[in-house]
């Protein structure tokens, strides 16, 4: 049975904003993103502007904040930290501006390993505050292969790290599951071109439904591609709701997402 309207509450923890040079994205603006969210039952999306990851972290982070100002109840901001573009400056900005709820890093794009010294301040900040860090992760990447995050987790066990795409490939998902099974600070996020419902079920079965997060990568990729895999996967309704929104509410406690205070806050 196919419904024309969704029936689940959704929080999308992996999204972008704006154009990208390698291909055309129709209407990549915040207003269109919110219109998609209205159709998919998405309450809140956490965004890192494409300009911030692709070219200029500072300008891109400002674009993200402008989207938050336009839709404060629907869009939340990641601060992109590029290890080559004054990471301390953007970390200071993050600390001072409560519109940021998390950190986004893209080691493969910025060609710098998550275990390198230039990222140490990110992990230290996350450990001292509880600020979640979403990182791109990619199987066999010298910069952010899932196994590399085990080193991060060993050095900074209090830093909550979201493995974006959970390694991307099926073999990468297996590697991500192994890492998350050994380290409770690692969370798995489900978007990616090669992701499937069965792979998401594997994450839930092996790591538990409490540390798997819905993300879509939209408007880089259409949000409904990732959402359909979760909605139609053979999960229990409780597991599905954990993945679609419950876990995000638990994880984003340092600065709670719009619509609800963080779990555990008084």
């Amino acid at each position: 049975m196919i419904a024309r309207r969704p029936e689940h509450r959704v929080i999308d923890v992996h999204a972008h904003l704006g154009p990208y040079s390698l291909f055309h994205i129709p209407d990549p603006d915040a207003a269109t993103m919110v219109s998609v969210m209205d159709r998919t039952g998405t309450e809140v999306t956490v965004v890192a502007a494409n300009r911030a990851i692709q070219q200029d972290a500072r300008l891109g982070n400002s674009q993200t904040l402008a989207a938050v100002d336009e839709y404060p109840d629907r869009i939340a901001a990641y601060a992109v930290i590029n290890p080559w573009q004054s990471p301390e400056r953007e970390l200071d900005r993050l600390a001072d501006d409560t519109r940021f709820v998390g950190i986004k890093v893209h080691p493969s794009l910025h060609k710098y390993p998550v275990t390198g010294a230039r990222y140490a301040a990110v992990w230290e900040f996350a450990e001292s505050t509880g600020c979640p860090v979403l990182s791109h992760s990619e199987h066999q990447s010298p910069y952010d292969a899932p196994a590399l995050f085990e080193t991060v987790a060993e050095r900074f066990p209090g830093a909550p790290v979201i493995l974006g795409h959970a390694g991307i490939t099926p073999a990468g998902v297996d590697e991500s599951i192994a890492a998350a099974t050994r380290h409770g600070s690692l969370w798995l996020e489900v978007c990616g071109s090669q992701m499937t419902g069965p792979l998401i079920c594997s994450m839930v079965e092996q790591v538990g439904s409490g540390r798997v997060l819905f993300g879509s990568d939209f408007p880089f990729i259409d949000q409904r591609m990732s959402l359909g895999r979760v909605v139609y996967a053979p999960l229990t309704e409780s597991q599905r709701q954990d993945v679609l929104s419950g876990n995000a509410r638990k994880l984003f406690r340092w600065r709670p997402l719009p619509g609800e205070r963080g779990v555990g806050d008084d």
């Binding site: 129709p26 099926p170 408007p219 259409d222």
Partner: protein, 252 residues
């Protein structure tokens, strides 16, 4: 169940096992379950063996599923390769045999099967008078080859599949240059891609398809059901375009 979301025709299913194990194998029973779960009116089924093992002999597996599920609107899609002694005698004979078997479309894999698409002119010529669609994954040939085929055989319907999210610039150029080109929803992953085509007057070139067997069907289901296009456009993409395109070999 909403009326506009029932009766969609799944324009791409692949029967058989995939060696990389991304998804469970699809047989007639699992395809029947798929049709039932989503209230689909039918499907076009090709064979994993024709893609990844034995191109011509594998067609029998697609036809076997189509025969088993004919009452559910399932039709076979056959695979062709260049005529080569010991493998295939004649492409025109293959097309004739396909039509006799009620086959609704052909699929080619030039990259996977190691040949130039220019070696299949006999196939294109044989398909065109029957308006029997030619289906191709975008990774299997370049845009220039695709454009050449579309231009040389303007009455041959061509369906491009597995576009991903990075190809809209090329797709736009191809669709506007060739009225016989279509694109299906299998991994049609561009943000607002359906809405973008519809807004530019090209919704009649878009076909619902899940890629069951090689892609997660939930992608295309959610993509169309929760799209921002109106109900008539959903119906057009979900079933009407397929009805027009695949009617050559029988009703859809």
């Amino acid at each position: 169940m909403s009326e506009v979301t029932s009766g969609w025709f799944d324009a791409r299913i692949v029967t058989g096992a995939h060696p990389a194990g991304l998804l469970p194998p699809t047989d007639a029973d699992s395809i029947a379950t798929h049709l039932e779960r989503y209230a689909l009116s039918g499907a076009l089924v090709s064979s994993m063996a024709s893609w990844l093992h034995d191109p011509i002999a594998g067609n029998a597996e697609a036809s076997a599923v189509a025969r088993t599920l004919a009452h559910r609107g399932v039709r076979a899609c056959w695979t062709a390769v260049p005529a080569t002694p010991g493998e295939l005698d004649s492409l025109t004979t293959l097309v004739d045999r396909a039509i006799d078997n009620g086959v609704a479309a052909f699929r080619i894999h030039p990259l996977s099967h190691g040949y130039s698409p220019g070696l299949l002119t006999d196939l294109y010529a044989a398909l065109q008078p029957h308006h029997l669609p030619l289906c191709i994954d975008s990774a299997e040939l370049g845009w220039s080859d695709l454009s050449s085929i579309a231009a040389a055989y303007p009455e041959l319907p061509i369906v491009v599949s597995n576009l991903g999210y990075r190809k809209l610039r090329e797709l736009w150029a191809a669709l506007t240059a060739h009225a016989n080109l279509h694109v299906d929803l299998v991994d049609f992953a561009s943000h607002q891609g359906i809405e973008w085509l519809a807004a530019n007057g090209l919704a009649d070139r878009l076909l619902f398809a899940t890629g069951l067997g090689v892609r997660d069907p939930g992608e295309s289901i959610a993509r169309l059901a929760w799209s921002g296009v109106d109900d008539p456009t959903v119906r057009l993409v979900g079933s009407l375009n397929a009805g027009r395109l695949f009617s050559a070999g029988g009703a859809v």
